[in-house]
Amino acid sequence: MNWPIFFRRPGPWFLALALLTLLLLPGIAMAETMKVTQPNQSLYPDPDFASAPVASVPVGAAVTVLQQAGDWYQVEYQGQRGWLNRQAFPAPAASSWFKLPGLLTGAPVKETSSDEVALAGKGFTPEVESSYKQKHPEAKYAEVDQVEAQQVAAAKLQAFITEGGLKP
């Protein structure tokens, strides 16, 4: 009898199918769990701040995300379903996929001065600000410095709060 190839030599096909299943499984089966990182978060019955909150969710609470709609996540927390605003979580994770061209071929390696490394090395630093200032001499940093120099001494603020009948 002329059986299809799958039945004649099942071994390699099973290997390929098993690998494909492994590849697809996490996306299908794993409900995402997220940790609340911001204080003062509430669970709402609808994705709307106008609805009265049904529960508060403390920092560090792990919630199961059921779905996302715009800025809102429908979650399950301690057996209760409700909506949490995106502010409860940190900024969305950036992709960790490899850049394929760099992965396969490597990027061109060039000579780099130590100054360039220092400038690029730590993200947005005072050095990057200095370079930006040089590039934009018209930027009003002197005025921003004046705004930042405005301080309210602790004792003066306390007196202001007391005089205004506000909470200490």
Binding site: N40, A50, A91, F98, G102, L104, K110, A120, V147
Partner: protein, 294 residues
Amino acid sequence: MRSHLRRLAIILLVALPGLWGCDAVTGFLPSEAQPAVSIAAVGATKAARASREITDSEEYYVGRAVATRILSTYPLYRNPAVTEYVNEVGQTVARKSPRPNTFKGYHFAVLDSDEINAFACPGGTIFITRGLLATCASEDELAAVLAHEVTHVVDKDGINSISKARWTEVLTSMGAEAARQYGGEAGSNMVNLFEGSIDDVFKALVVNGYSRGAEYAADVGSVKILTAAGYDPGALAKVLAKMEVKEKAGAGGIFQTHPPTIDRLARVKGAAREEAPSAAEVNRTQRFQKIVQV
């Protein structure tokens, strides 16, 4: 056939860890490919770290640059008594916010413009226009406006306006390996990314506005802060009602970047109280009127 299957299996084995965010790849590849993979893997680890929030100091430097842009558009209102008072009210609400401390603290300033507007720069520099200050009828209403802006800083709405692709590039551009890859352009590339980030935030602040959700969240945050500080939690509804009148009269500014004031008002008017203002609130209104004559 067998060789095809073997190739498929190898591709899957190599692809799987990458797709799941794991960097244990190099073991499967020939030795000559490993340096490139090593650089890419470091980049990917840094990209994964991009999911970390921007540091407080990075946020501060972005915020300073955004403030320079705002001050290029609106001049500072130079009235020391008013500036000092606005800072006192601002500090009173900031200390009761969920994020009372930023890298260099909160600072408040008044912009010399009739436009009704307010801006929160990342890191805690907050501007209110003379026009919006004049719209407030009491200290509690000023506190409500400043608490809304403080909540934008708390929620990092400005920083979250930086495009995800740009921020990922910032993170992958960091470190000596990436600097070697970018060569002599490593530093200027970072400055360009910094400039692009400032553009993103400035555009969100002044042109496009944040999402409606972020604005409603800032209103909710404001009411919470007012309550915690001892101000009238209904003060936000009061000032929004005044703003709505000006919006109907065709005012621009804040109304171009925020949800309709009537919608905002509908969500916070529940916090408004029926009873007459307390003696303390009357005192606060008097000190407001004495100082704020703009």
